[in-house]
Amino acid sequence: MSILYPQNEMLESRERMVLNLYLVTSLVLFLVMMVLGLLMRLAQGAWMDMSPTLFYQVMTAHGAGMVGTAALASSAVMWFFLRKYVPLKTSIFLANYVLFMIGAVLLLVAIFIGKFAGAWTFLYPLPVQSLGVWSVGSAVLFMVGFLIIGVGFLLFYLDAMRGVIRVYGNLGRGLGLQWLFSGTVDPDHPKTVVASTMVIIVNSLGILGGAVVIVMSLINAYDPEIALNALFAKNLIYFFGHVFINITIYMAVIGVYELLPRYTGRRWGMSRPFLWAWAASTLMVMIVYPHHLLMDFAMPRWMAVTGQVISYTSGLPVFTVTAYGALTNIHRSRMRWRIPAMLLILSMFGWAAGIVPAIIDATISVNHVMHNTLWVPGHFHFYLLLGVLPMQFAFMYHLIGRDTDRSVSRSDRLGFWMYLSGGLAFVFMFLAGGHASVPRRWATHFPGWQVYDQVASLSAALVIVALSLFTVRICLGLMHTPSSAEPAPAGD
């Protein structure tokens, strides 16, 4: 039996405090954002009265809040495991949290006091052209909030970059590029370092793109004479947005690489295909974004083709390396069925299955009838709700567990199955809505569409109950810090 809680993962009290801040904040924010999501589905299903003004504010908050929170929780996973291999500064990890919270407050003020409802994508020029619904000032506040959050993540990535370079020499060696074509792959080169390096590279560039387009939008907000090229702004916004949300998966999957082998009791070794998969993903995550612009016919044809082809190929590493590797690791392993293990498998399933509707939608001819319908939230909720979040919950449940735990408690088991069934029903209602051509981001739905919204509301409620159970369990667990995570007596 492998060790679930190795010595080198112990936390000092200061580190534990900061990590707990991340985890508790994430859980609470997830709950709040899910309630906002539920409210939207209730309004669309005509089970609740909500003015369009409020609906679109709620929609903006839900989008920005979920993307931000997913990134926050995922970076906690990355930090926790990466610090075993490279030196990371707790102060920078804390700085990221503080900047995130400042940014989050600005976003909330912009939305609920400034009435900003330009969606989390702040697609130029909507933020500054609301026909008087919200002021330019609140759009500015919103974008400044994003900028501050971006700076926080940039600090975190720079710290991680420094750490990887200190230990491995440069980012290429962290990524294992030297073994792509020849040489003996170091079987002990950590998957965590490979994934983290990819995240560092890709999201630093994503944040750079965001910083360019946000500052340009700010200049335009104040001096409208300086008009931007809307198509170019759209490219940058989707590059930034796509990278930023995708990266939440690549940070959280580190938890799967680290934890799954402990629960199966089997090594999950480093291999050349694994390195190839991550090197390819590094590139593909950056160039796949044109699949958001397939309905912008003015885009060059080669970019649309790139968007479609890369969307398909970027699924291959997930299917044939990560998900397949996980399944191989589990197969006939006499798995230790604890709640983290269950969540890890769920997360792999959510990611792999969620990719199916995503790839199909990225086909240009399909995009003609699916783009900006509920199909789109359908596919990304699939791998966020059933992929990324379970990865994060698995990590949190693992943290509060202990070696001596033998079985899954009744409430956890109940929570798991509620989450799984509620989540599945919820995303399938989105996909079914897409199949029925229901447009995305509509405050009110035609009566014929409302049945999907109503079933979705019920399923969302189920997910929220499940998440509440998780939240209570995890928060209590974090407070009663388990002995296994106490600082080693002779450590330091």
């Binding site: 409802a117 291959l316 029925a436 051509s437 569409w449």
Partner: protein, 180 residues
């Protein structure tokens, strides 16, 4: 069977295959076998899986991009009917809302303010095709209506407070009826 139905079916089959793979592995997870044996077998199978997916990708890419599913954007529209569309917050401005069935229509779509989405829906509220409506850019959408009847334009890109109310009806008339 509509295009949407075929997409739906393909997706369900894909998800079902993934689910079966997971269920199979989960069912076997209680047993124990030498990891080496499992790995050797799995890796052999993986080569087939990878090759199969690549082959599938090539076939699907070729079939779905040939002919290219987006009309040429350069030069004068090659369609006998041309409709100029301008998206406004929050209404569609069109130089005509009457087009003929059976004959290609080129919609030249742009926007006067923010991004909109120009989605054509049939009388059963099914999405037929769409393009983006953007300031400073004209996208050309060429579509041939098969049947006469009432169709609707719905906004498919979030554009502010009355996004969901940006609806305009168009009449598609019999192709032979209006020759004059």
């Amino acid at each position: 069977m509509s295009f949407q139905d075929r997409i739906w079916l393909t997706t369900l089959v894909g998800i079902a295959l993934v689910t079966l793979a997971f269920l199979h592995v989960i069912r076997q997870s209680g047993r124990e076998e030498d990891p080496k044996t499992v790995q050797t077998r799995a890796y052999a199978l993986r080569r087939w899986l990878f090759g199969g997916l690549i082959a599938l990708g090539i076939v699907v890419t070729g079939a779905s991009l040939w002919p290219f599913p987006i009309a040429s954007q350069h030069g004068a529209p090659m369609a006998p009917q041309v409709v100029h569309v301008v998206g406004h917050q929050w209404a569609w401005q069109m130089d005509t809302t009457r087009v003929r069935a059976g004959i290609p229509v080129a919609f030249e779509v742009t926007s006067a303010d923010v991004n909109h989405g120009f989605g054509i829906y049939d009388s059963t509220d099914r999405l037929l095709t769409q393009t983006q409506s953007m300031p400073g850019v004209t996208n050309r959408l060429v579509y041939t209506f098969e049947h006469p009847g009432k169709y609707r334009i719905l906004c498919l890109e979030y554009c502010g407070l009355a996004h969901h109310a940006m609806i305009r009806e168009i009449d598609v008339v019999d192709g032979t009826e209006e020759e004059s």
